[in-house]
Every structure is written in structure tokens, then in C-alpha cells.
Symmetry: C2
Subunit: 113 residues, 2 copies
DNA sequence: CGCTTTTATCGTATATTTACGATTAACGAT
DNA sequence: ATCGTTAATCGTAAATATACGATAAAAGCG
């Protein structure tokens, strides 16, 4: 029954995968769920929004939204500041721009060996 | 012992999550892994590349690379055409552009209620 | 101080992703 | 027809992601 090990031979990012690839992947992954895109869009549209306001507009439980917000915060796409008992979130457009920029740079890889 | 159900109350994309959000998320998710970004970059750089050529440049097993290629193909980011016993892959710049465009459009959401 | 409101976190179930070796399939060449 | 090469798929293990209810934590109000 051959119990295999499956620990990656190379810990991660051995030659062939650059730092930009990781940064781009990290940002892209954070936007890699429809609910998270919707959250970012909502925040961009309204400038800022209390967590509850987001929950009201999405078909997801509060806990789930909070988890998505955490992912977005970790990726730097969203910031939240405490305001009384609430937390006021806003998008970080620079981070979205950064993602856009990295993708542009990727496209411009065309031709470079 | 409280067997909970956990079937999403709303099947997916109830109000609040739009079609663009899903398309953007789908593309972003496909680029949401460093190895896949590296693959796309490599293909853009070289124009085209046989699967084996990709495997040689990445610290991953052939099976793993093949799986990543499948994800990229499904998202439309990469195309492959059979060439004898090999498969010659190339990036689909339109799809990358599409992602870039969707992100730009997202940024331009700023202010729109 | 208790009470309400708001958000984060815990616990948990299920699904998906990631990785690998082994095997299969498809082709060209012998 | 068999052999080598190349890539996809299968089987599987482990990790991560997704979703929820329940609970905790923090702040304002009475």
C-alpha cells in the first residue's frame, strides 16, 4: 500500500518561480472568490462601510463575511478601523492598483526570454 | 453531538454578487498560485513551450505541472495544441488582458453607489 | 454595573487544492 | 507490432478553503 510522503521536494519557490510571481499570486488569490470581489467592489463604491453593512448586502452569514474580510485584510486589499463597537472597512485602492500593475507587467513579459 | 448541515442558505450568488465578480474571481483564482503565474510568465516570454520544457524550469513534478496547466486551460489563460507526442502550450494574452480590464473596471467602481 | 450591539473567533463539517508516484494513452520511430 | 517519449489521468495524502452556528470580546448606553 506504499505509504508515500508527499513533502514537496523543494520547500517552495525553487528556481523558476520569482518574487513577483508570489506577490501577484497572493493578491490574485485574495480576489479569487466572488464574495471577496463583491466586498472590494462594495467598499470602493461606498468609500467605506461598516461590517454589518456588508453582511446585509451579501447572501452570507456574518461569520463568513468576517472570514473573507480577514483574507482581504491579510492581502492588504482592505483596511479596517475600529469605530466604537463597529469596524469601519475601506478598500485599499493602492493594493488593487498594485495587482493591476503586476498583471500589466506580466503581460509585458511577452517576448522577454 | 449537533450534526450541522452547512448547505449555503443561498445556492450561490444571491443578490450582492454580480457576474463580473464571478468572472474576475474565476480568472484571479487561476492566477492565485505562484507556479501558475510562473507558467503564464514563461509562456508569454517564450511565445510557446512544450509541457516538458515547463517541467524542466519549475521545481515541480510533471503531474503537478500538468494539473496546473489544466487549471489555466480551464480559465482560458492558456491554450495547448497537440504536436506529435508533445503538447505545445501558449498563453492567451487576451484572457490576461481581460483580467486586467476587469480589475481596472473594479477600481473605477470608486464612487459609484 | 448589567444590557445591547457589533465583530471576531472557535469548533466543526465538507469541499477543494496541492502535491506526488504510478499508470495510461497517444504518438513517432524502428 | 513493439519501443521509447511525452503528457494526461488515477489514486491518494495532507493542507487549505468555505461555510455555518455558537460563543467570546469590546464598546457604548442605561
Amino acid at each position: 500500500m506504499t505509504t508515500t510522503k508527499r513533502i514537496p521536494l523543494i520547500p517552495a519557490r525553487g528556481r523558476g518561480i520569482g518574487k513577483d510571481d508570489e506577490e501577484l499570486a497572493h493578491l490574485a488569490k485574495a480576489l479569487g472568490h466572488p464574495a471577496r470581489v463583491a466586498i472590494v467592489r462594495l467598499l470602493l463604491a461606498r468609500g467605506e462601510c461598516v461590517c454589518g453593512g456588508i453582511v446585509d448586502r451579501l447572501p452570507l452569514a456574518q461569520a463568513t463575511v468576517s472570514q473573507h474580510l480577514k483574507v482581504l485584510k491579510e492581502a492588504g486589499l482592505v483596511e479596517g478601523e475600529i469605530d466604537g463597537p463597529r469596524v469601519c472597512y475601506c478598500a485599499a485602492p493602492e493594493a488593487v492598483e498594485r495587482l493591476s500593475h503586476l498583471i500589466q507587467a506580466l503581460i509585458e513579459t511577452k517576448g522577454r526570454t
